[in-house]
Symmetry: D2
Subunit: 328 residues, 4 copies
């Protein structure tokens, strides 16, 4: 299994991370060249995710193509900036401001045009500012109508580019519309376009109290909706974007099993915020952990795992987990 | 607004509530006759929810009809027992045991046949045991296929009886399939039957970190899917089934506004567990609280509320809340 | 390390577990003799916890002594019933009803007298009903005064019997006074009696968003306050009382390390509710999992672990976790 | 009651708030002069909290004295920067780096010397970076020893200046040592200095699943430990720092009652992050909301409230809440 996996990471992992307190960032800023250079030091890495406009924009496509080629990377996804630009601070596609909504749709289309130039077929769409903070603050029906219309228009712009929606239950807004796997799938089911799917950010799944294994299965149940994977970890109460292996172990093993079971062929991409930790090490350790997990999982015959699942006896599930992890 | 509202309650509120510790119950048991007698003492009450098999079953329909008539109640819903009978302890409609799954479907159909005899058009379907507790315990794809097939078969048994699915994120299982508004609506969208909809248990919404106002709007967005309302309160971390007014106030005001806005004409039904508190008082206080909330809400012109919502300025949302609650 | 560990379990794990829905219990009831017989089948088990009054009371001490002897068990703790008897449904030691408060203190003293007869030196005191559900329901100052006075009086009844307070943040009450490690230690610090300490229920720690390793260290920091350990697992949002190995893995490894580091010599006792699972298997699997964890932990030199901790570099923490678990 | 209350706010409410996404901030930066000018527009405001080093430092004391005098403000607290400066990014007083720990202690002493010059007697000490993110990352015993030593040394520097510790369960670190009211009080009880106390940030209490009313009572129970109040609101899952009135209503009424009951005479200070909302409005609305709450509370006789609390009947608690809020 492991041999087929392509690892990728958001480029930002190698940079400087700030938060609402330490807004200078806990480390030093790095240029795009330096970020690529750092990524290039990690042998296990096959590709990168580029954030527009920080890393990629209309004017630097050739430069980025050069960097990608230099380090023999693929570009797993482009992430459209609908949440860093203060213009989108109160919403993008779902905004009640027609101008802003149009700009957001226009920005998505722009990156749909850029992506093929980088041999990238997936845009990651995270609507981190589309939501609300207070009761009596928004008209939910209008917001959802905007989401439906906006996604439909973008999807139809180029059916060959996949728009991969990354849901999250909250943060930075107190409630996000694209909150969980159910709400996202319900909307995709209603829209009915094949190039609309889901980025399963594992940490966002944990944060929404989902079994990520079940969420992955649901993406299959509602068509082939699983376009992309984001790996990181957290304590279940926030999107901590920690290294893989910090907290969830059994859930990770189960979700890796389900990725294989549904035939997921996409990227294994990291999305982490190592505020206080060195980025190259944080990236490398997560990849190593995922590889160790996969190896442990592969050490037990899939049929044996399927048999335990089919029986539904929890004492056997625990015994299986012990066998996978501890070989005992 | 308040004048049109029909209040109902689960009959069990007047009985004895137990938990995993105090399994004798904190109070005294009461017969069905006594439960009706208790309900009859509450002037504000227009109807009751009956739980099968505790309160209603094939053999006592006439007796119950008599009691309902005696106290001039309507029957808001019948709740099918898919979670008290130990037979369903590891699942009902989604069970991997064909016999149990068939029994569950058969039980639902049975109560679909009973309901019209009591002038009741809604069955409340809460799949509290359909879920899982451990990783590697279930095949999610098979479970969801069972849910889809089971609901479709039941819905087609009699299109005139509404099946109202009550979702909940967890408890008693650690994960329930019918977990939140999104997952439930996605399934209903896929099945496409008009008599499948949602019981919005307000406490379940809070427990799943939903804005219940948004969830109500979503039931409208995906068709007329809001069939029934369950009122209670909790602290957001469990299904405490407390009296209304314990914790959420602003959210309650907003959801009452949205019930009016989407034209909800159904019951306002209580679903509470007053373990240590006297049931008649617990029922009466919740109804009084809802009425006070409605009156406060009605004291501000709907257009003014709509204007605040349209502006999206949170400082005005807070000012509106203060005006609704404190008249200041 | 593993060789010195004494494993114990609450006897109830082998019985029938009910909840607020399935109040008949999901399985069959078993007599005390049958519970002991079940426990006797588990070779790894060195002792049992007895719950008064279900398993132990004034009148059956000799019978229980016989059963304990027959199966060559030790009695790790006696659990005083301050939460099953409906009399204590609204509080025990902290109750505002003088009669109930006196009864609770009297019950504790009674079991302090029984314990030595069973060669047991620890009473587990869980105040599951001492708390509150609603705002404006209790006078917190009076409640805490009652706790302080009650614990002091009990502690002074016999300084040779340890009273081990088991804290928990909520359930069955919406708030418990003895909620977390901090509140409990603050009270013990104020009372200043050596025979007052803490039962660290690992699941209760997770539920209160504690790092249990830190909580164990704090019990040491405030004197030798760690009297007893309860093992089980949950998803962090409720006291699920699952088998060990369900969810937390890394946290378990760290807390086992800290138990060794602070020199904990007490019991490793299980406190689980396998509602739907067979009790003997649930007990055995948890013990096996703990043993596998310990073995994995012992495979890495303590000095190496201490070195990683001393450096504080999180990438090395993750590498260490991978080494402990996967030997890579 | 309201007439005696002094309202204050952190000056930052009028500035630009950034987060980990929008690190430019959602609004425009403002100079200290402009921040004071904004504060000066709010008639209800009696004082400000100053953050060192942004607003106050060794070199601008006279300038700040002038501004304070110009707007007739009091200075409620100085907040020592132990969390914005990247130097303290991995810890301050509890740091394992001796140099950093000494700097932190030195910085606190420095502001203890500055405070009296501004007629300010309270330093707010929030140890937002003192904690940990991963298992096996820190030595908890050493960290707590550092906390104990550090607070003791600072407290003894000048017994007339109060050090008011603001606890918080997490963020920015995944676990903070000074996490909740219990851990903080346990440490203060052990140190035993009269000028060490607590800043009760209401949102931090909600975030830690505390009844803030009980936490306030506990500050009294363990001596006169309540030095300062921070007001804001959140949804219970994060430190959202929203306007008062967003979510918690009943809890706020109860905590305001308890502030009066224990005789709290300190400041009512706001600590909010109105990222997307205009700061003057956000400040003014929170103060208005608190005043409306107090007025509602004062409309019911304290003896009546005490009577309900003494009875412990939750149906009466709900009736009381309805009376306070809705006058019905």
């Amino acid at each position: 299994m492991a041999s087929n996996v392509k690892f990728s990471t958001t480029l930002g992992i190698f940079g400087n991370q700030s938060d609402r307190w330490c807004n200078s960032g806990y480390k030093q800023d790095r240029s795009v060249d330096e970020l690529f250079e750092a990524a290039g030091k990690i042998q296990e890495l096959d590709g990168v995710e580029l954030f527009g406009t920080w890393h990629i924009n209309e004017n630097n496509v050739e430069q980025i193509k050069g960097l990608v080629k230099k380090y023999k990377f693929g570009v797993s996804t482009l992430i459209v900036d609908l949440f860093v630009n203060p213009k989108y601070g109160s919403g993008s596609i779902a905004s009640f401001d027609t101008k802003i909504r149009k700009d957001a749709i226009s920005d998505i289309k722009k990156y749909m045009d850029i992506a093929p130039k980088l041999d990238c077929s997936i845009l990651d769409i995270w609507l981190g500012q589309d939501g609300y903070d207070y009761p009596f603050q928004v008209d939910y029906l209008k917001a959802w109508k905007n989401l439906l219309d906006g996604f439909t228009e973008c999807a139809d712009h180029n059916p060959k580019v996949k728009l991969s929606i990354e849901y999250k239950i909250r943060e930075p807004r107190n409630h996000l519309y694209m909150a969980d796997v159910g709400k996202t799938l319900a909307l995709l089911e209603k829209i009915g376009r094949d190039n609309l799917g889901i980025t399963m950010d594992v940490g966002h799944g944990f944060f929404a109290y989902e079994s990520v294994a079940e969420s992955i299965a649901l993406c299959k149940f509602y068509g082939n909706r699983l376009f992309h994977m984001h790996f990181n970890d957290n304590y279940g109460f926030a999107d901590d974007d920690l290294m893989v292996g910090a907290f969830h172990m059994q859930d990770y093993l189960e979700l890796l099993f389900w990725l294989k079971k549904i035939g997921y062929k996409g990227w294994f991409s990291l999305d982490q915020f190592p505020y206080r930790d060195e980025g190259i090490g944080a990236c490398r350790e997560s990849i190593k952990m995922i590889k160790s997990m996969q190896k442990a999982l592969d050490s037990v015959d899939s049929k044996e795992i399927e048999k335990v699942i089919a029986e539904g006896d929890a004492t056997k599930s625990i015994a299986l987990i012990r066998k996978i992890i501890f070989k005992e």
